[in-house]
Amino acid sequence: MDSALIPEGAKRCAFPKFMIGMAVVGAVLLWGVYAMFLCWFKGLNQTNMNDYYGFALWIWADLAVIAIGGGAFFTGLLKYIFKIDELKNIINFAVIIGFICYSSALLILAIDIGQPLRGWFIFWHANVHSMLTEVAFCLSCYFAVLTIEFIPNILENRQLNKVPFFHHLAHNMHGVMAIFAATGAFLSFFHQGSLGGVAGVMFGRPFAVREGLLIWPWTFFLFTWSAAAFGPCFTLLVTKITEAITGKKLVGDKTIHLLAKIAGWMITTYMVAKIIDTIYWATVTAPSLGFSLSHFYTNNAFYGYWILIAEILVCGVLPGILLIMKSTRENPTTRLVAIILATIGVCLNRWVMVLQIMAVPVMSFDTWALYIPSWQEVATTILPVAYGIMLIAVAYRYLPVFPQELELNKSAKAAE
């Protein structure tokens, strides 16, 4: 039915089957959209946020998707600037994942603010001292970069590419992609960092505050680094999931191994920095403000030392080691374990840097604040997931996302 749109030579499932799958995911999407409109029209009383929890699930979701979407900028950086050509086999997909992550982040931000119609004040009345301003600027600019990076892939659609203008446009954009990628890397570096700075500059919150370099707290650099380290893991994870669902090998092992190796080293070096940061914070920064480490991890029902151990050791050091060791890296099972742990690890880090900050009491007579999101918050947070699945499905079906697909599935085709 839609065979004219499907990339030449590629095999895709039957259209009705495709539509059924889309409908199922679409229902989840609509649920999220409904919740989104509730929040817009009735206000943020639809959430379980409160004056102690002004930043909650949504901000975590924003930080998390931006971190795991970091695969796009980092892969782009490696491919276009450091000229690691092998990554061309996964760059398209990394860009799509990045695009999904960043558009989701913007959407969630649009729901999260109390006065969406005034959202543009952040640009117009910008306060240059605020990390959030930097985030907003770089985020939207980088989203533009991702869109630019995504466009050529769209234009390579079998039908679109027949239009000469589009054909040429795609060609030309490929030609200057290095410049876009460089700009994207520059922007990403800052907004990933600024997101880390968001927490690090809150000197009223001893759990969050970090010392640093000039105006940048250490979390600024840690966030950038961690996004570069864990983002590719998520790209690999989604690739793996896509391969599992389509039942096809889409990216060659060489590319996978290379990216996994890079991610492994990035994670490992990040973890070294993170551990140094944690030790310094726990032994110098926090005590200088009158806080011992136990203050942050005891006397409450949820945030125990487990979260520190989980984030740093189980979901940080462990996947790092698994990915730098050749044997575990090239073993599909241990590699999968590593990228799953890594993805959880970075999400956990963002959780801690948003929600635990809000939960920890600062005034000596204050108490821990715990929070459970409302269904509206959950639905609007799942919305991007549904949206992402749908976009990946459509892109995979109609665009030549994976350059190696035909080659890698030749044997299967031959067997048919």
Binding site: Q115, L117, R118, W120, F121
Partner: protein, 706 residues
């Protein structure tokens, strides 16, 4: 294809481009954000000239001077009036929130008549004629004494006017709600002779021994007490608080002396006994069996015996007595909490006797025995034969609590009609069901309430009263003050609803009845009446807004008749069974009487007092037995049970449960009612023999996990 996709594409792109290079996008983006800054459903208060007008707050007996800030004549804020002889600037939260009462959703907006179970709006003419008609029937039946009146207090022209109505009508049945002022007058009458009252010179005392008096919880004239208390720091004066619970007063005191609930009288007499035995007392003007008193007290209230009942070590009692006697200007203050409900005469008399023994009567920083202010002179009421006959009859009961008991206990209706003014007995008195039952047994109840409160809901006719901001009234201040001040409340705004000054309503009822009753109420309006009856002080009252009738240390040492205590009256025992003693707590941010706390006041109430729609009770962790902080529990007394939440609090004696007064209103106002339980539903009254006071400060209770 004539018009293909590309045509539409062209059309769309062209339109988009055209709009893009026009101001539409920019302007709409800007204007839509400006729209959010001026949402039509967010009110914009009107601006105008700012003026300040003085008046007096009559929400509580404190009677503070207030300054009402107005914009273009529209009141926007109430603040304490600088220089006013009671509060001199500063105000309590209820007074500051006073404007919320003006537009309260639960106000009675027009006269009402009960039809079946529902109220219907009627005109003032109709309302007055219904009331006058019913009352006329009662007189025709020859039973004028079956008209009763319950007023909030006995002070001022309004209760006097109701009393006058009863006189002209022919009934002796005027009752007042329990109040600190009433209790002090009763104490003064018992010890020093009728017509007196007692004031406490807290401002000048260097050692205040408070028998649970909530000096910063609304006792007496709250703001005056706050000020006197705050000045302690500079004056290096001490406050010792004797109370089972770490109230705010106890928290602010120099020393908190926990005591078994309800044994304050024992301690006061125990201190008297120590003074007597150590010969640290002043002979003064003791009369009425001082010898017998000395003997009885020393025998019955020796420190060891008092230790047994109060739980305070005998040595501490002796030391406390000595410290009290040795202080330069000590004063002992009676009246647990706000000193109005759940009080007993024995304690009041014992504490005042302690003052007398320490030689603190009519001394600077001591207790003043003062004549009740007499500034109203009503002309003799005209009485016809029916009135004469009725007025000669015996009053049904000695107190409002006894009245309720008697009405419930009698087969035939003791009252055929009842006026309620400035009181909410169906909420404030203990065992509210009992009060409501009694009200149901009265065939015709007329409420003069401003609000559709629990008592108004039991009424047959409501003649809605203007609030204190909409009417004129004389406001005599403040229970327990060491001076007499009369203030004048003046209308700050035209009545917001179809309400009247209850004085006007009463005058109109009287005039509608004709005859000698109308003759007794010859004034056109209440304002005219007030000016006439307060003629002695009217000029200065209306000009200055207040008149200080008496101030400074009264002269002479008053006689002290101790025969009441010499007879060793029995202490009131707590009713019921259970491991715990439930005591009612006064909290400054709530009102225990009328009106109910405002939305603002409710907003300030801690979540350790009210959580959602549940009352939170205080209990010491030592007696919690498996109950968790914040957990739900069922509290049960012989009176009833209620679901509550638990606050584990080290600031309360083990075995005692503290439950706040002022919650559990049942009328229709989602901001203040439907929240928590009324502690009066759980505690039944215990009438003290002799005084007729409801002395139930608490009740035995059980507390189990819900």
């Amino acid at each position: 294809m004539k018009i293909d996709r590309r045509s539409f594409l062209g059309l769309g792109l062209g339109a988009a481009a055209g709009i893009a290079v026009s101001p539409v996008g920019v302007k709409l983006t800007d204007d839509s954000s400006i729209w959010t800054q001026n949402w039509p459903w967010t009110p914009v208060p009107e601006d105008g000239e700012i003026t300040y007008d003085p008046s007096v707050c009559s929400l509580c007996p404190g009677s503070c001077g207030i300054s009402v800030r107005k914009i273009k004549g529209r009141p926007v804020k109430i603040e304490g009036a600088d220089g006013y002889p009671v509060n001199n600037g500063g105000a309590c939260l209820h007074g500051i929130a006073g404007l919320q009462y003006l537009y309260d959703p639960s106000r009675v907006k027009t006269p009402m008549r009960k039809n079946g179970n529902r109220f219907e709006a009627i005109s003032w003419e109709e309302a007055i004629s219904i009331v006058a008609g019913k009352l006329a029937d009662i007189r025709t039946d020859g039973a004028p004494e079956t008209l009763g009146v319950i007023t909030g207090s006995a002070a001022g022209s309004m209760p006097a006017l109701f009393k006058r109505f009863l006189d002209a009508f022919g009934s002796p049945n005027a009752y007042e709600m329990p109040s600190l002022e009433g209790n002090l007058q009763l104490t003064a009458a018992t010890l020093h002779g009728a017509g007196n009252t007692i004031g406490f010179d807290l401002e000048n005392s260097d050692f205040v021994l408070s028998f649970g008096a909530g000096i910063i919880e609304g006792w007496g004239s709250p703001v005056a007490c706050f000020k006197a208390n705050a000045s302690r720091k500079e004056r290096h004066a001490k406050l010792y608080q004797i109370e089972p619970r770490l109230s705010n007063t106890a928290a602010g005191a120099d020393k908190w002396i926990p005591i078994n609930p309800g044994t304050e009288a024992d301690l006061a007499l125990g201190l008297c006994a120590v003074l007597l035995s150590k010969n640290l007392f002043t002979q003064g003007n003791f009369t009425g069996g001082f010898q017998k008193f000395t003997a009885v007290i020393q025998k019955e209230y020796s420190p060891t015996r008092v230790e047994a009942s109060t739980g305070i070590p005998a040595a501490d009692i002796e030391a406390l007595a000595v410290a009290f006697a040795k202080a330069k200007a000590p004063v002992a203050v009676p009246g647990k909490g706000r000193g109005d409900h759940g009080q007993n005469l024995k304690e009041f008399a014992a504490v005042q006797t302690l003052n007398a023994l320490a030689g603190r009567l009519n001394q600077e920083g001591g207790a003043f025995v003062m004549a009740q202010p007499e500034y109203l002179s009503f002309p003799e009421a005209a009485m016809d034969e029916i009135a004469e006959a009725g007025a000669g009859k015996e009053k049904i009961a000695g107190s409002v609590n006894k009245l309720i008991e008697d009405i419930n206990g009698s087969d035939k209706p003791l009252l055929n009609a009842l006026f309620v003014h400035n009181a909410n007995p169906c909420y404030t008195l203990k065992n509210t069901q009992r009060v409501k039952d009694a009200f149901k047994k009265v065939p015709f109840v007329v409420s003069f309430s401003s609000f559709m409160d629990e008592t108004a809901m039991e009424a047959d006719v409501i003649l809605p009263a203007s609030t204190f901001l909409e009417r004129t009234e004389d406001v005599p201040a403040g229970a327990g003050l060491p001076k007499s001040v009369i203030g004048l409340a003046t209308p700050q705004v035209d009545p917001v609803f179809n309400t009247k000054n209850p004085g006007d309503a009463l005058i109109q009822v009287a005039q509608a009845m004709g005859g000698t009753i109308a003759e007794s109420f010859e004034w056109e309006t209440y304002d005219e009446c007030l000016e006439a009856v307060a003629a002695d002080i009217w000029d200065s009252l209306s000009e200055e807004g207040s008149v200080v009738v008496a101030e400074g240390v009264p002269e002479g040492t008053p006689a002290v008749d101790v025969s009441y205590l010499a007879a060793n009256p029995t202490s009131v025992e707590m009713k019921g069974e259970g491991d715990f003693t439930l005591v009612a707590i006064d909290n400054m941010r709530l009102t225990g009487t009328i009106p109910a706390a405002s939305p603002f006041a409710i907003k300030t109430v801690s979540d350790k007092v009210l959580s959602g729609t549940q009352t939170v009770v205080e209990i010491n962790p030592a007696s919690a037995k498996g109950l968790k902080d914040g957990g739900e529990a069922i509290i049960a007394t012989e009176q009833g049970e209620a679901k509550v939440k638990v606050n584990l609090n080290e600031g309360i004696m083990p075995g005692v449960i503290g439950m706040v007064k002022g919650l559990g209103h049942t009328f229709d106002n989602p901001y203040v009612a439907g929240k928590g339980v009324n502690v009066n539903d759980l505690i039944g009254p215990v009438i003290e023999p002799g005084s007729g006071l409801d002395a139930a400060f608490g009740i035995k209770a059980t507390l189990k996990k819900a």
